[in-house]
Each structure stands twice: as structure tokens, then as C-alpha cells.
Symmetry: C2
Subunit: 224 residues, 2 copies
Amino acid sequence: MSEPEALAVSDRSRLRRKRQRGSYDRRVVDAILDEGLVCHVGFVDHGTPFVLPTAYARVGDVVYLHGAPGNHMLSTLAAGCPACLTVTLLDALVLSRAAMHHSMNYRSVVLFGSTTPVLDPEEKRVAVTAVVEHVVPGRGLDARAPTPQELRATAVVSFPIVEGSAKVRTGGPVEEPADLSLPVWAGEVPLRLVAGTPVPDADVPAGLAEPDYLRSRLDRLAAG
Amino acid sequence: MSEPEALAVSDRSRLRRKRQRGSYDRRVVDAILDEGLVCHVGFVDHGTPFVLPTAYARVGDVVYLHGAPGNHMLSTLAAGCPACLTVTLLDALVLSRAAMHHSMNYRSVVLFGSTTPVLDPEEKRVAVTAVVEHVVPGRGLDARAPTPQELRATAVVSFPIVEGSAKVRTGGPVEEPADLSLPVWAGEVPLRLVAGTPVPDADVPAGLAEPDYLRSRLDRLAAG
């Protein structure tokens, strides 16, 4: 393993409150990054913070993002600005007897760093394919590969997995002792993202079945 | 209706690319805000953009956020800094025949503004109760109400629903005409957040059933 085993702790990545929920462990961080489908990227343009959702993929020690070169986020990030990349997985609603103690169970990763433009066509191809593979493993080999022209017309940036932290809340509500005897139901409501029945587009021939890798992906989503 | 019917269009909220997916319509914006469970809030501290997930609730023309006063995000936002608030709902994976044209169907709202600290105890109570009601309608009346001490120990900020936009992608893949004849399955995989069986905590008496409002909430989540 050439990967570092822990994220760097800095003033901005040091966990402040509820430290027991936090982790700098790369295994925890990578598992969350690999399970999420969408990240929220923060950057500053003319003093305004922007937070935009986008697809991504982790490859080793970086997260790749891509998009049209005219895309505001990609063009800003391609200049190499400070950014924050957050992935949040929602696991449960947590209902406590007291209004104030309601919570959610979640797993999140917050990364800090500066993005680097990816200009090498081969690394761009790896990045674009990784994003497809991240969403549906196996798809990257089945789908028509990007052409050199398509890669030239795509902006790719890499975000370093170096500085940041993960936060994980699990378990039921945390109550005031006096509230425990209230006649109010309390507990967890598990949540998960589930895939429905795939809908082929109008041009898929009748004899072309859903690929096995898609079925595996659906099973994994359904199993939570 | 005293609500404005559209968000303000500014340099930072004007939709740039894929404008046909965008909307400034408050009905579209509010429906997305009301369906989401978690928002991602962006703010800048010492030049670093932060993006953190948190619970929220819309009440009329504002979004309320709350947390411990020592919480980094809340203490920064309570000072009234420029912020961005984003809610993203993921509706489908979109598999195209070409790697480059994979996409997702989603509904998102991006709001820009400055937060205002909420200091009035009554408005704080409304805000805290709204966050509980937002997650499980009916719960705000059932759970033990916040005490004056609890409200004093909670930081609340409001975020204006004035400037920003919604973006909605629906439908199947957009393909290059030459790719349509490829023997590659293409289409949509619907995604939805589903609630599992509630797990009461250890102190819920055996005779205390799940409340009806929780059952309604679960049905609504299950129905997508």
C-alpha cells in the first residue's frame, strides 16, 4: 500500500465538536467516497462561496471531477483555487423524545485542498472512465470509449485526498435522563438509496438485455 | 400569497450552461427545499471554503439552520457572512452508450445570501420546531418542546430565499446519432430514498406503538 493511512490534521481539518464521531482514517474516508454518487464542491468566486453538486470518482489519492470547459465550476477549479469537497451519505432519521435532540445518522467526508487541472489525454481518459466506473462498475468497458476530440472538449481536475476528515454518527437518540419516561416513541428510521427498475431508452433493441454488471449494481443498491 | 414568485437573477445566480434545465420559479425551488432532508452549506473562513451538511427547514421565505453555538459553521454564519445553501435530490442514473454522455437526473437548488442570526426566543422556537416538522411532519407537536434554557443554548440562523436558482434534469441519455446503433444498453435507473423498518430505542415501552404521523412519513418515503 503506497496510500497514506491517515489524512493530515490541520487547523481547518481538525475536528472541533463531537470528536468521537470523527476520523482521519483513510479506510473510513475512502469507503465513504467510494459509496457516494454525488459530491458537493465548494469554491469562492469574487468573494461568493459556491456549492455545486457533481459526479466524481476516487482513483488512489485523488478525486476526479469533469465537465464542460465552459462550466463555471470547472473553469474556476481548473485555475487551481482553494476548494472543499464534501460527500454525505444519509443512513437514518433519529427521533428523540425531545424536539431539541432529533438528529440523523450519516457518514460524511470533508476534504480541503486546491484542484489541479488534468491536461494529459491519458490521465483525462482514466479520470472520465473512473467516473463512469464509480457509478456503475463494469460500465467503463462496455460504453463507447471517449474519443480524443471528446477528451479535448472536456475539462478534468483532480482534488487531493490529503487534508480533511470523516464524520460518522450511528445509533439511537441521545436523551436527557428526565425525558426517558415520556410517552413519546423514539428511535431510528433507517434510510437507504434504492434503485428502481431500469428504463431502457427508445433506441435499445428488444433483444438487448440489461447487462449483468448493471444487475449487480442494482442488487448492491437494493441491499443498501 | 405574499411570497415572491421568482428568485432574483444576479450575476452569480444567472444560469450559464444548460439553461433549459434551470428555473427561478419559487414553486420549483420550494418543492425541492421541502423534499430534501440535508442541505450543504458553503461559507468562507480565513480564505478557505467550507462545505458542511446539515438539517434545515424552510419557513416561508427563509431557510433555518440550527446547532450548538460552539459549532464552527453556526458561529461563523451567526456573524452574518456570505454563504451558499444547496439542496440536491438524486432521481436517476442515466446510462448513455458513450462513456462521455453518462449523466444523472437530479433536482437541485442553489441559494446565495448572507445569514442572519435569530435571537428572538419565539422565532428560535419556531425554527427548531420547523426543522423537526420538516423531517417528520407531526413530530413537532408530539416531541417534548424546547425549554427556554435549550433555546438559549442553541444557535439559529436564517438564510434568505431570494437569490439563486433551481436546476432539474429529467429523461434519458442524450446521444451522438452515430452511437444509437451500438449494441450497448442505455437508459435510466431510477433512484429513491427509502425508509426501512423503524427501530425503537431500548427505553420505548412495549405498548407504545409507532405514531401514525411516522407511518405516514414512511409511506411517503417508500412511495418516492
